[in-house]
Amino acid sequence: MTIDLHSLVGPYALDVLDPDERDEFEAHLSDCPTCREEVDGFIATAVRLGEAVAQDPPDALRAKILAAAATTPQERPTVVPMRRKRPLRSRLPGLVAAAAVLVAGAGVAGYVIEHQQVENVRAEQSAVELVMTAADAQISDTQLNGGGTMRLVHSASQDAAVVTVSSLPALDDQVYQLWTMREGVPQSAGVIDGSDMKYVSGVDGADQVAVTVEPSGGSEKPTSLPIGTVAI
């Protein structure tokens, strides 16, 4: 079996394996230092081939990519100690809130759930990316009463929006909650932290996104006036 897998070293380096074969081969690699060495050399060789066909991208692409990166959250290594629920306050608005999930599950029993959550985070990240990079993405910013800012990136083609809030004051026993508004009728889009990002799907027909302060756990309907709204 080992010999058979090892024969895939060339196809692996040239990236022609299907995902299942690739996983199987990578599992084999971790047990086989000799293979690892050969693969590293082959990959470095393939990279040389890639460099040999280098071609300058169009000038406009640079600005486009840098602008998209500026509104795209990064994965962050998690450094929050166990049991400390609220992570770092003064992070950039582009934080992946859900990364905190990574520290939530402890022990073997939590693994499956944790794994599922990580998968969800991944799916959400690519959804976020689709909105952020959509050709029809519209950005609106607003200052919130009481401090902090809210940014809405909306894409009609994706039928989704990404709401980023930053530097909202800390609350005791209360939470911030997002709402999509359709002709004055609110629908909850979930509870958020003071610096957070939320992917909101199914925004077709909504005309506003609002944020309110609600009792801990959130409300079914807003119980206070919005501290800020952004038009979609």
């Binding site: 024969s7 196809p11 990959i43 460099e51 640079r62 990064q74 290594p77 990316e129």
Partner: protein, 203 residues
């Protein structure tokens, strides 16, 4: 970070070649800084690797607009997941180009599936492989790479070309070359061994 300040760390680096050690070290640093949200480092990384990444997506996807999209996706993925790069385990340039190749191949598979759905009776699986091979040879800018490619047997060269530049799956390569899977596997490996030794790549 200057190359002279880190002589010992070169032992556990991947040597692509002795000539490009210094810039490679800089790129590692740029990618590490990118992971911390440093947008200037990211811009510098784009300036250094935009051309090889875009060359690969152009080569693999052929449609210029689609290639541009995929180049953008690649760099956003670099930005998003730069924290996964470990400078002790490899070079930034390798990390980015492997990611770019994989993303471009994923895009080909995705487009092909979409095209199959739309047009299930008339899909021929991309351009003729002879055209791919020829274009690759003609456009290889690096003398050394071209010379080393010329040193392969026809079957080795075509296996490597169709796989790396054509983006074909492994069974597709076998089919295009009218060879069995075991033979293609071996040709790819033999071809890479020759190329590696010819280019003086050490890992």
């Amino acid at each position: 970070m200057t190359p002279s300040s880190v002589p010992s760390s070169s032992d556990d680096k991947r040597h692509l070649s002795s000539v490009d050690d210094a810039p490679a070290l800089d790129l590692d640093d740029l990618l590490v800084r990118t992971a911390r949200g440093d947008d200037q480092a990211f811009a510098a990384l784009y300036d250094a690797l935009g051309a090889p990444v875009h060359g690969l997506t152009r080569r693999l996807l052929r449609n210029p607009a689609r290639a541009e999209e995929v180049t953008q996706e690649v760099f956003l993925q670099v930005w998003r997941t730069a924290n996964r790069f470990d400078p002790a385990r490899g070079r930034a340039k390798t990390w980015v180009l492997v990611l770019a190749h994989r993303r471009a191949v994923d895009a080909i598979r995705h487009d092909q599936a979409a095209s199959d759905r739309e047009d299930s009776y008339d899909w021929v699986g991309g351009p003729d492989h002879d055209v791919v091979s020829e274009e690759v040879i003609v456009n290889l800018e690096h003398q050394q790479v071209r010379r080393c490619m010329d040193g392969l047997t026809d079957l080795q060269r075509e296996s490597v070309n169709l796989a790396y530049f054509g983006g074909y799956s492994y069974p597709e390569v076998a089919e295009l070359l009218d060879a069995n899977l075991a033979t293609v596997k071996t040709r790819m490996r033999d071809g890479l061994i020759r190329l590696r030794d010819c280019m003086g790549v050490t890992a």
